[in-house]
Assembly symmetry: C2
Homo-oligomer: 680 residues x 2
């Protein structure tokens, strides 16, 4: 093997990827083969990254947005000798991704799943696979770098973010939102590498794609550089240097590549994209690479060491110099707290408690604003943004500057009308340990849903804040009135959905949200005014901490009927409860703001709140009925929405669909009577 060590290393990335996919009999070999020189040049000669300290806060980020090419990343993690970090952020002596893991590609419990998974494999900076998510997330990482630099000093934070995108990523709508936002924000620390290989799953990209990418990205205010040959590491190096020298614009490097490079029969074809090459073709390709054709998972002598010598040595120097700076910094303690997702002592000292106000009331979105502001005062790294609905969703921080070029320490982000990018950017900011929240109307959570899912999958404590949470928003009508969104969010694993009933439940909800270090929260708020309940008459809002609680009870604590409600409908349940009491019907009102937390309570608490022998139950929630059987059972009544809404003033809409105290009382009576009959 007469090739120089760098070429050997590049071919090692290629052959490991081919072998892993072949052994797994599943995966995507073609892109790791074509982009091996790109990854190699970037990691070895540009990326400020310390394999021995992969959680160094100022490391450059490498995002494989084309997540199906996961073997490219795993090969790099292995060859660069990235070390595994445990759950407590301690660096271990184990490799993040050893050769054994590569040989176990796509097998159960391996660290090498089909697509890169954040928190599963050290060195994976974000989960990718759903196309476009990586580029969206990368914008948040770049934003975080700017924010950290502006806040704590550019000598401490100036990391760059690189994202490798395929044509799929650039076809997805999120790429538009993300690129447009990055251009607007002049994120010159962001570099996307477009793998221009002209092949997608169906065949030539020309089947569906004719964009002039250069013109498109110039329209976003990006610097666009073209590298005509993915194998030309010299040109690639120049392109990365040009990116680093650029100011005021993000950079797109368009790299012309050949998928499955070197494969005599599969290069430049869709068959190299998503299936193993086959043993025979692998042998032929290894011949092209000057590789021993029978060797599997072969790592030539000197290759691993070459990484230690270059990225390893450079990274160690950079990260230890940084640590010295940190040690000398006045911000050390705060930054360590931030990096460990801690919160300042007394962060919740000023959280508002709201006086009872059953007449005038307060929209929960507005209560939320007061709480957010109290938190923002004490938690400097809380960042609030909205999708052109800053005041509508009440996320304006009263003392915050706008986050924009020239004031990157601002904490009020105008994401634009870009819900998908907003959610993804919050994921990115969260990977850098900021505490981001973004907001839109609940209906439009649909637009960001794929990125919300990733926050749940990555266990990132992002706050997704949604207002205008029911038909109660009124005149805007069916297009804006959420029906199914609330239950659809509840169906998502590892996402806590909280819909507070009044201002004091809002305060409790925010305590939960901030307390979460590894779980996103969806906060669901009203547009319309709701009463602030008299907590001297009803139970304390602290019950929110258990997901659900008895808000009002039958006098003897022995209800014959349970009304269960969330959010703005709790007032209807309470109204019915009082009327029923006047008629001698013993009812209980359960406020159930967070199903996920309630489900985690022990059985005895749940039975205490919802005694199994009380089968006469009614749920009241202005959303899809699906799912409420969990609490109402088969004997009860579910008051919800089975159709889309209507455009009208909110009281008219609510009356139209039966959401009045009168009607809840009527249904409650019927259920109580039915239950009384069935037991006698």
């Amino acid at each position: 093997m007469t090739q120089d060590i760098d070429q050997l290393a590049i071919n090692t990335i290629r052959t490991l990827s081919m072998d892993a996919v072949q052994k797994a009999n599943s995966g995507h070999p073609g892109t790791p083969m074509s982009l091996a020189p790109v990854a190699y040049e970037l990691w070895q000669n540009h990326l400020r990254y310390d394999p021995a300290n992969p959680v160094w806060p100022n490391r450059d980020r490498f995002v494989l947005s084309a997540g199906h090419a996961s073997m490219l990343l795993y090969s790099m993690l292995f060859l660069a000798g990235v070390r595994k970090v445990d759950e407590n952020y301690n660096i271990t002596d184990e490799p993040a991704c050893g050769l054994d893991e590569i040989e176990n590609f796509r097998q159960l419990h391996s660290r090498t799943p089909g697509h890169p998974e954040y928190r599963w494999t050290t060195g994976v900076e974000t989960t990718t696979g759903p196309l476009g998510q990586g580029v969206g997330t990368s914008v948040g990482m770049a934003m975080a770098s700017k924010w950290l630099g502006a806040t704590y000093g550019a000598d401490l934070f100036d990391f760059d973010t690189y994202a490798v995108a395929g044509d799929g990523c650039l076809q997805e709508g999120i790429s538009h939102e993300a690129a447009s936002l990055a251009g607007h924000l002049k994120l010159d620390n962001l570099c996307w590498i477009f793998d221009n290989n002209h092949i997608s799953i169906d065949g030539d990209t020309a089947l569906a794609f004719s964009d002039d990418v250069l013109s498109r990205f110039e329209g976003y205010g990006w610097n666009v550089i073209r590298v005509g040959d993915a194998n030309d590491t010299g040109l690639l190096g120049k392109a990365f240097n040009a990116f680093k020298a650029e100011t005021g614009r993000p950079t797109l490097i368009v790299v012309d590549s050949h998928i499955g490079w070197g494969s005599p029969n599969k290069q430049d074809t869709e068959s190299a994209h998503g299936e193993p090459l086959g043993e025979e073709e692998i042998e032929l390709t290894k011949e092209v690479y000057g590789w021993p054709k029978d060797a599997k998972f072969f790592v030539p002598e000197g290759v691993r060491e070459r990484f230690d010598e270059v990225i390893g040595r450079r990274g160690a120097e950079l990260s230890s110099a940084w640590q010295e700076k940190l040690d000398a910094s006045e911000h050390k303690a705060e930054l360590e707290m931030l990096q460990h997702r801690g919160l300042p002592d007394g962060w919740d000292a000023d959280l508002p408690s709201f006086e009872a106000d059953e007449e005038k009331g307060l929209a929960t979105r507005k209560a939320s604003n007061k709480v957010q502001n109290a938190i923002a005062e004490r938690v400097p790294w809380l960042i609030a943004g909205s999708c052109d609905l800053t005041d509508s969703t009440s996320v304006r921080l009263s003392d915050a500057d706008q986050y924009e070029p020239g004031s990157y320490d601002g904490r009020q982000v105008h994401f634009g009308i870009r819900e998908h990018a907003a959610a993804a950017a919050c994921n990115g900011m969260s990977t850098a340990k900021l505490r981001p929240l973004w907001s839109t109307y609940l209906t439009f959570s649909d637009y960001g849903r794929a990125a919300i899912r990733l926050s749940a999958l990555m266990e990132l404590p992002v706050v997704h804040l949604f207002t205008h949470d029911s038909i109660g928003l009124g005149e805007d009508g069916p297009t804006h009135q959420p029906i199914e969104q609330l239950m659809a969010l509840r169906a998502m694993p590892h996402l806590d959905v909280i819909r507070p009933a009044d201002a004091n439940e809002v305060t409790e909800a925010w305590k939960i949200a901030l307390d979460r270090t590894h779980c996103p929260v969806a906060m669901v708020m009203t547009r319309q005014t709701v009463p602030v309940f008299d907590r001297s008459k009803y139970a304390s809002a602290e019950g929110v901490q258990r997901g659900g609680y008895v808000l009002a009870d039958a006098e003897d604590g022995d209800p014959e009927l349970i009304l269960i409600a969330t959010g703005s409908e709790v007032q209807l349940a309470l109204g019915a409860h009082e009327r029923l009491a006047a008629d001698g019907i013993r009812s209980r009102v359960v406020s159930l703001p967070c199903w996920e937390i309630f489900e985690k309570q022990d059985q005895s608490y749940r039975d205490e709140v919802l005694p199994p022998d009380v089968v006469a139950r009614i749920s009241v929630e202005e959303g899809a009925t699906l799912g409420w059987e969990r609490y109402v059972g088969t004997e009860g009544a579910i008051m919800g929405m089975s159709t889309f809404g209507q455009s009208a003033p909110f009281a008219d809409v609510e009356a139209e669909f039966g959401f009045t105290v009168d009607n809840v009382t009527k249904v409650a009576r019927e259920v109580a009577e039915r239950a009384a009959k069935s037991t006698t």
Copy 2:
């Protein structure tokens, strides 16, 4: 009032809009005020539209993508004298939107809801309001025009589609997908009008938006025209003429406008966007317009007539000339059938029936392909597309050409990796009465969810086809394995979600889908092979027509235990059923492919399938557990997913999460024993 009649008409649009919003005390006056000349010039002098026949199939389409400006559209419908069409496509003598409706803007049951609603107000070509949906849908309309023209003759079909987009529409990711697709397809019959008013809800668009829209759209291969003044109808006319003369490219007309034009204190401010101007400002503005300041909903003499003289006369001539052509056409009967959402006699004559094959089996996606092809042979206007997953989702039509420039009669659409645009374009094609289906993996239904919702809200019989429908897809791992998507789709009103268990259920599912004239269907299919059940041993797949049915029963028809499953998990339920039978435990297997249809069956059928006294029940579905309590009740067991999945070969993943016959049998035994105890 000395202004010429055209200016009077333009100011009438403006003042009606201002008055309606003021009276409703809710709405968006600013854009109707600024765009009144644009709408007027377009409708009067360009739009091929017959107000007396608003369902004329070859009419040009006008889409108000900026749906919040609904009063602009309602004013046009009123002034142009558009007539109401009833549910049976009959044109009535009533106005689609009379002055009384305008005075009832945003009130319950009015024809003037907050955002334009398709099928609710004649003349509204598509529901808009969720930003970007209108432009997405417009691409499908333009595609349909090309397809109809190429298939039935350009003398019959050559309609143009105009869409008015705000900055919000162009910021949304869907606008990228849609514009990129339209440019690729060279849809020169598509014209977007960008209302470049520099104002969004939060304030100046510069807060969040710096795109060079011209460069961006040139990157998509569009012709871009700039009109520097929205009040200059002469320039606007030239721009529309340039669009009509253009070949081979869609057109974007960038119109510089002033939101709230004419309002002395609110023009060019965000306060003109989304709230009433206020009585005082309305008076001041009416003065600017030379309008009687106290008159409300004032329509000067001659204005209505002016519309009759221009668009009315032109439209009548065009539509009657068209009708003559249709009457002479060999395609008349077929086109009338198409327009009424009919299907050719015998359309289902060749639908495959699949022989039992419990060994080798057949993935439901593959069975679906056979059924689709049988339908496509008989229903010429079935159009199938995918998002770069044509063969993965098995939607390739064996005899179809690709839909592309030069073969617009093709029926195989390559939407590109653009799920959101694909779903929206299908909505657009469906408004033109084609029968479109599009496909992706179930997980990525999230990307198109907002457009799927609109198909449900608009009652469009689009087929949304999703494959790779569970953790059973295997190695691709958690990012690709749907968990919550199935239940989240079920939560959506007016969408039938069907998850067939085997090939013969697939055939039945397609019968349902085609039979729907006013309801979209989500088809949910496996990647992996599943048995084709022996229907001589089990019940007929025709039970799918009732949503759920008894597939296998206890020998005596008196089960002590019911196993309920969908899709690929039905085989597990059957396997357990047979083992339980061997042990003398009497179980029933219910296949429940479509909850929505099952819910619509009468109580007696539902009780027959799920006898209320059999409380020992188990559900088996590889998805979110939320919702299953509806069928399993409080005594049963729900076998589902409460976490995200894992990357591994599918059998390993299924075993990891307990989806094996062994485990289902074990759980079933436990449930049966528990139930036996509680009854003794």
